[in-house]
């Protein structure tokens, strides 16, 4: 068998239902609306890092579940989140992305909680508390954050609008197999340890954590080897580990520096990606410069890793966005190691559970868009 005709192309992949995803998840407007209602309005979402609100009254705005939101430091370690809409017209109260806020009177509060300096909010009054929501998903970062006498600080922020469905971006984080795409990972990551040394763990609520990765930075000619003294406490300089929290936040560590990403859907075909880099608060200028350099080697808009992921997300959009691609396969099984697709499967299992429709056939459940489907080859 070689190429396939229309009928063969329309057949679902011959793998278990949990191991493929329908293209409708990326383009059906009704699915997009259901995601807002059943996922984004119900989950805990990372809002900002405490260092972005250094003193009482300092605020940070963001968008979540189609709502203009803000989070403010009230006093000490107390943070409060609000929907930033006031008055009869529902206008945004705050003038910019960050600043000092005089009053939050008239704004609707939402539940707010912090863990290790990461401030989260939820719009769901019935949601379990943040700790139960996260469960043990962040355990691989326990050594990095717990019992430390210093705190972390955001030194990098950038955002970009990617022309793709939000899940296509999140997949670039959950998918270990695509390291083939990145020359930096082919050189620095793939030869650094055995595939079997990696560990992908699935946690409750769709979170995933990935550990056991290492990097040989010297293998990429423009990079310097990272030294023991440069490592963040709890990590070795060649460590790489990350936790994609369902649905939209990821914490990533590369030995000497941290990155936190959030992904916000702006429509079925447009996504806001926000990315932060973190170092140690109060560190020497030389250390900070080192950390920024290490951050920028891989990340940021001029890094050698992140732009390629965005390229991939947009390339998927071109095929899924208008219906040329009908399915994607997430069927790799390496027993939770190597380049297993179990992270992707955990994500889509949670997605299916929350939406009440299987990701492999999301429109059949309640006949959404059946009219359109009828016209498909």
């Amino acid at each position: 068998m070689t190429a396939r005709n229309a009928q063969a192309w329309a057949n679902p992949p011959r793998v278990p239902p949990s191991h493929f995803v329908s293209g409708w998840v990326y383009r059906d407007p009704a699915i997009y609306d259901a995601e807002q209602a059943k996922i984004f309005r119900r989950v805990w979402r990372f809002a900002a890092h405490e260092s972005e609100m250094p003193e009482a009254g300092a605020y940070r705005t963001f968008v979540h579940a189609c709502e203009p939101m803000m989070v403010v430091r009230e006093t000490g370690d107390r943070f409060a989140g609000f929907i930033d809409r006031a008055g009869p017209a529902g206008a945004r109260l705050l003038p910019g992305p960050a600043g000092q806020c005089r009053s939050t009177r008239g704004l609707r509060p939402c539940r707010t909680a912090a863990k290790w300096g990461f401030v989260f909010v939820t719009l769901d009054p019935e949601a379990p508390d943040l700790d139960s929501y996260l469960g043990d998903a962040l355990d691989i970062f326990r050594d990095v954050f717990e019992g430390r006498e210093f705190s972390y600080e955001v030194f990098h922020f950038h955002q970009a609008i990617v022309e793709a469905n939000w899940k296509a971006w999140q997949e670039t984080i959950l998918d270990l197999y695509h390291e083939f795409m990145h020359v930096v990972l082919r050189r620095t990551q793939m030869p650094a340890t055995a595939m079997t040394a990696r560990s992908l763990r699935q946690h409750r609520n769709g979170h995933v954590s990935i550990g056991g990765l290492r990097a040989l930075y010297g293998n990429y000619q423009a990079y310097r080897v990272r030294s023991e003294g440069e490592a963040l406490p709890g990590l070795t300089p060649d460590d790489a580990r990350f936790t994609p929290l369902f649905p939209d936040t990821t914490i990533i560590a590369r030995g000497t520096v941290l990155r936190v990403d959030t992904v916000t859907p702006l429509g079925p075909h447009r996504t806001l990606v926000e990315s932060r880099g973190l170092g140690i608060k109060g560190e020497s200028p030389a250390d900070r410069r080192m950390r920024i350099r290490h951050h920028n080697d891989y990340w940021g808009p001029l890094g050698r890793n992140v732009p390629e992921d965005a390229y991939a997300a947009e390339a998927c959009e071109r095929a899924f966005g208008r219906g040329a691609a009908l399915f994607q396969t997430i069927a790799r099984d390496e027993d939770g190691r190597g380049q297993d697709d179990c992270g992707l499967r955990a994500f889509y299992a949670e997605w299916s559970r929350r939406l009440g429709r299987p990701a492999c056939a999301p429109t059949n459940a309640d006949a959404i868009s059946r009219g359109e489907q009828e016209g498909k080859p």
């Binding site: 396939r4 005709n5 197999y177 998927c316 208008r322 069927a331 099984d333």
Partner: protein, 400 residues
């Protein structure tokens, strides 16, 4: 009677139903969705000219109403077309517009495919052992591809009638110029997104009457031959052609009459013939050079137009230069004809796009000669048949 109040303005024109078109065909989103499903997913689409993939392993990528396509000439010299989509995770595979390669490797996970659409490599395939996924299961989606007079047509519908049957005699007049001798090759390509419904562009290729708009045609065409010499032919499946037009190029300041030595096979240098293939292709020959239009809707109000200019394969440098000059006098972004048509299409969008204009009239009847609207009526006749909605009243429930 002078101007009309709202009620009078909303009344259909007092002409037969086949002789006018409702503005809803340009602006209604459900009409557009039906056009995509019932017309564009089922009819033959011009992907490129065969000269754009002359050698084995040459490829060309195109986008067809949201479907990325990859046209490849195989080692057997046969031209095939595939969805330019990786069966693994759905990424668009080839991002270049043209090139030559034996192996198409998706950038994302390095799955590879050959020129006949077979998957030839999956890195670390052992990861799929548990579910038994094999290379044989993940070939590319092949799209029906057929060639007529050098034009590479594709069809997303595997059940569609064969190309030859679909075209009938619609392109017969072009067979001589396009295939005699060494055949033709593309020397010009440009594209533009215009702010109008796709049909407003295609109408400029179907409407002979609007020659009044072009000073170039008023001078070179209307006076060159009697209007009665013209003959409109309506072919089955909504295709059209017209013969009997001539041009006196020297009547436009700065242009000279064309030398018969440069005429394309079977044509005179002052001949002008053109035809349309339903729904969205136009083929035009002006004695010494040809133009081909492909009109692709992006949405109800935005349209991609691709223009190609063709000359004789193996032209001397001097002859090619003359053909390019002739092409550019009328066509291309700096020509004196094409930009005016695009202006007209966008002006029609301004009237119809938001509902100010309610109807257009296509009621000229000159017995298939002169400035008859027969080609426009043939187009809308086929359009109505395929969409199941009468163009005069498209909000009538679609026929089953």
């Amino acid at each position: 009677m002078s101007a009309r109040a709202a009620e009078a303005w909303s009344k259909p024109p007092a002409v037969p139903e086949t002789h006018y078109v409702s503005g809803l065909v340009y602006s209604d989103e459900s009409v557009f969705a039906d056009e995509k499903r019932r017309i564009f997913d089922r009819t033959w689409h011009l992907a490129c000219h065969e000269s754009e993939v002359p050698e084995p392993y040459d490829f060309r990528t195109v986008d067809y109403v949201g479907t990325p396509l990859l046209v490849v000439r195989g080692a057997d010299r046969r031209i095939r077309t595939f969805f330019n989509v990786c069966p693994h995770r759905g990424a668009k595979i080839v991002h270049e517009l043209s090139g030559n390669t034996k192996r198409f490797t998706c950038f994302y996970h390095l799955w590879s495919f050959d020129a006949v659409g077979a998957c030839t490599d999956i890195p670390r395939q052992e990861g799929y052992q548990t579910v038994g996924l094999k290379k044989d299961d993940v070939g590319l989606r092949e799209v029906r591809t057929e060639i007529h007079v050098g034009l590479v047509f594709v069809n997303l519908d595997d059940q569609a009638t064969p190309l030859g049957q679909y075209l009938g005699k619609a392109l017969d007049a072009f067979e001589g110029p396009m295939t005699a001798g060494k055949g033709l090759e593309v020397f010009h390509y440009n594209r533009a997104i215009i702010q109008s419904n796709w049909k407003a562009w295609q109408e400029t290729n179907l409407d002979v009457y609007h020659e009044f708009m072009h000073v170039l045609l008023r001078r070179t065409q209307m006076t060159a031959a009697p209007l009665e010499d013209r003959k409109v032919t309506v072919h089955p499946n909504g295709h059209t052609s017209i013969a009997g037009l001539r041009a006196k190029y020297e009547y436009y300041k700065g242009m000279q009459s064309r030398d018969d030595r440069l005429a394309l096979p079977t044509l005179r240098a002052d001949d002008f013939i053109f035809g349309t293939v339903f729904p969205h292709v136009a083929v035009l020959a002006r004695g010494t050079t040809m133009r081909i239009d492909v009109v692709t809707p992006l949405d109800a109000h935005r349209t991609l137009i691709e223009w190609r200019g063709l000359g004789v394969r193996g032209d001397s440098a001097e002859d090619r230069q003359a053909r390019v000059r002739h092409h550019n006098q009328y066509w291309g972004p700096f020509g004196r004809n094409v930009p005016e048509d695009a202006y007209a299409a966008e002006a029609a969008e301004m009237g119809f796009g938001r509902g100010a204009a309610r109807f257009q009239v296509i009621a000229r009847d000159e017995g298939g000669s002169g400035q008859d609207d027969g080609m426009l009526r043939a187009f809308y006749g086929e359009w109505s048949r395929r969409t199941g909605r009468p163009a005069a009243n498209p909000s009538n429930a679609p026929m089953a």
